[in-house]
Amino acid sequence: MTSIFPSPEWLNDLHNNLNSDSKYGEVARKWEGDISLIIESDVRFRDTVILYLDLWHGRSRAVEYVVHPDQKPAAFVISAPFSNWLRILQGDLNPVQAMATMKLKVRGNMAYIMRNVPTVLDFTRVAQETPHHL
């Protein structure tokens, strides 16, 4: 069963997968901070939406799919055009490399992100393993 990316359904699938993935639970056990992933419109995606996740100690405590154009406040706000998110989701773009090359824009405590690269990468793995279609 796959869900459309991005959609409330896919976000819920990701939420459930994060909470059932023991490896993520272990790697991210010290992570404290909610994130807003801003999917910006581009030629392949008309809208701008926000995937909000409240991540805490290896768990996803809550998620929210935000279609309002205003930014959802969060400790970490990461934005990119839809196509770049898709490349990350499909494993064609490493998220750390994407941050270093401005394919992802980041607002928030970069020290915390760089300190927790394994968590970032494992979060990405779970997202990649969450089935999606366009």
């Binding site: 270093a100 401005m102 980041v106 300190r115």
Partner: protein, 606 residues
């Protein structure tokens, strides 16, 4: 446009101006590339790099001091006493821009003073001052005394420490707030000439052909650079910002390149510094990044320079030292004594390894036990190396000489006498070629290809392809292009940490020199510079046999993020020679390659 250089003969105490040929500026732009052209005829196999005859060249680039994006740098070049090959070290701070404002763009220093001196340059004039009272002083100490003596606010001083005076082959030259020309022993060359320091103060304008075009291009480039993610990270966390990631990938070596992990909970990184001892940041002239760290160790000495990535890796994980304050002090002491922290920590790591293996004993070390993780032992080694006393006599040989003396040269992690930086080719395979083919030895600044391998920085417009960080021969062509591109950086001089797009660089360079260069032309100039340095090195005795890796990089790491991997070096080197147009049997640039670069006059010596 470049201004005249000052030609200083310390033996005869004569100082005169000399022009820089316009054609050379057109072909090489400035700094490291132009230095190679200027030194070409003078660097010979039988030249002793520490003799009075050996020239020492300080040179600006066409963008130095223009407040463009991270361009406040200059370069120092000579025949290297560490390698016997091409020596080059570029350095930030404010000294280079100040020299421009004083009316000069370089210094050509030969001879040797009868007694220690320092050179004082003030707005078109220059003279030599006695420096007997400064001999033995630290770099910062000499800087401070000279500034007080001259009494001119804003005087910039480039100085050596005791290590340079003692001709340690990895002695540095330091200016301003701990900015260093660290690699290839330029401090030893300066010390051999009895030249303690060069002080400069200028009040003129920085020369530039088309300010009207330059200023808007500069503003746009600086704004973009300031807001780039990498700049934000460098400002927040310093050059060690990527340490955790490099560690995760097994690209950050530990225990003298023998291990990929250090232990749970340990992080020698910019994050650790920012969360513990950081109290401020510092910047070189006009730089919007401000990657310099200002720290307070709580020992009553107040604010001081914090360690950057290489120093932190070298004195931290490389020696298994966990105390970030101790690592900071070790780096600081290297700066004070005038030792390159990469080479110093490398040879000390080799000593620790030999001690653990029983190859050296307390009888060799003067009773000093060398134990992994012991900052006191490392500090004693630093002190001894700088003055070449006791065990320091061996450490001051550098890693190659130290290994050779104790019967295990192959254990030294170096190439051609230059100790490797702390980016392991087993974590980022492109570094295998970067280290093996750099004109100055195992250097990460002639091509920091790890940025491509692990951070994906393929630099739009250069034609680089992103390969796996463990790919082999398929990335050889890209390494060559990246080396050419970094040669452009080192000619301008543009800090390699600054992510400035090629089209922005072109706009700035064209306005600065009043030319109409293109990106292919820029890359060709980089390739020309790479090849002229190669020809110089062949003249100095380098052969294809020198394009090699130390044994450590050819053995798999037992653990960590790159466990089990070794680069296919043979295949990579073969592909690299092909990509370069070099003779596959001896690594020499083919005559047709040299001709294509306008270097037909530089056919390799027979």
């Amino acid at each position: 446009m470049l201004q005249p250089i000052l030609k200083v003969d310390l033996t005869t105490r004569t100082i005169r101006e000399g022009p820089v040929p316009r054609d050379w500026v057109r072909d090489y732009f400035g700094a490291a590339s132009l230095a190679a052209r200027m030194l070409y005829e003078h660097l010979t196999l039988d030249l002793d790099p520490l003799s009075p005859e050996a020239p020492l060249l300080f040179l600006n680039g066409p963008l130095t001091g223009t407040a463009g994006p991270a361009v406040g740098r200059f370069v120092i070049c000579a025949k290297s006493p560490a390698t016997g090959l091409w020596g080059e070290a570029n350095i930030g701070g404010f000294w280079g821009p100040e020299l421009r404002r004083a009316g000069f763009d370089g210094l050509w220093i030969t001879g040797a003073a009868e007694a220690p001196v320092y050179l004082w340059i003030r707005d078109g004039r220059a003279g030599l001052h006695p420096a007997d009272h400064l001999w033995g002083a630290t770099t910062y100490g000499a800087q401070s005394v000279i500034q007080q003596e001259l009494g001119e606010t804003g005087t910039r001083v480039a100085s050596i420490g005791p290590a340079g005076e003692n001709r340690v082959p990895f002695a540095l030259i330091l200016c301003d707030h701990g900015r260093v020309a660290g690699r290839t022993g330029m401090g030893a060359v300066m010390g051999s000439k009895n030249l303690k320091a060069v002080a400069v103060k200028g009040s003129g304008e920085v020369p530039l052909v088309d300010w009207a075009a330059y200023k808007p291009a500069r503003s746009a480039a600086n704004r973009a650079l300031r807001d780039h993610n990498q700049s934000v990270v460098l400002r927040d966390l310093g050059t060690a910002s990527g340490a955790e990631y490099f560690d995760y990938l097994g690209e950050l070596p530990k225990k003298y390149f023998q291990s990929g992990v250090m232990g749970p909970g340990y992080h020698a990184s910019g994050c650790t510094v920012s969360e513990t001892i950081l109290v401020g940041v510092s910047a070189c002239h006009g730089c919007v990044i401000a990657c310099g760290r200002v720290v307070d160790l709580g020992d009553g000495r107040g604010r001081r320079k914090g360690a950057e990535y290489e120093t932190m890796a070298g004195f931290g994980p490389n020696l298994m030292i966990e105390d970030i304050a101790a690592v900071t002090r070790l780096g600081e002491r290297c700066d004070e004594l005038g030792l390159d922290s990469i080479s110093a920590s490398n040879v000390i790591g080799l000593a620790f390894k030999f001690y653990e293996e029983g190859r050296i004993t307390p009888a060799d070390t003067g009773g000093l036990p060398l134990k992994w993780g012991d900052p006191e032992a490392a500090a004693a080694c630093v002190e001894a190396a700088a003055v070449r006393k006791g065990f320091g006599r061996f450490l001051a040989l550098g890693a190659r000489g130290f290994g050779r003396y104790f019967g295990a040269e192959e254990a030294a992690v170096q190439v051609n006498g230059l100790e490797a930086a702390y980016h392991d080719p087993r974590g980022a395979s492109g570094m295998a070629l970067s280290y093996a083919t750099s004109p100055r030895g195992a250097c990460h600044n002639q091509s920091d290809f790890f940025f491509v391998d692990v951070l994906g920085q393929t630099v739009d417009g250069l034609g680089l392809t992103f390969h796996s960080r463990h790919a082999g021969a398929e990335k050889a062509r890209d390494v060559a292009i990246h080396q050419n591109w970094r040669s452009v950086n080192n000619a301008l001089v543009l800090c390699i940490l600054a992510e400035v797009p090629p089209d922005s660089i072109l706009r700035l360079l064209n306005a600065a020199l009043g030319i109409d260069e293109t990106l292919p032309g820029l890359l060709l100039a980089g390739e020309r510079a790479w090849n002229i340095k190669r020809v110089i090195n062949h003249r100095l005795g380098l052969t294809g046999m020198n394009d090699r890796l130390p044994q450590a990089f050819l053995e798999p790491m037992p653990d960590g993020g790159s466990a089990g991997f070794t680069p296919d070096f043979t295949g990579m080197l073969s592909a690299y020679y092909q990509a370069r147009g070099w003779d596959p049997t001896n690594g020499r640039p083919a005559p047709e390659k040299l001709a294509s670069l306008g270097l037909e006059w530089a056919l390799p010596d027979p």
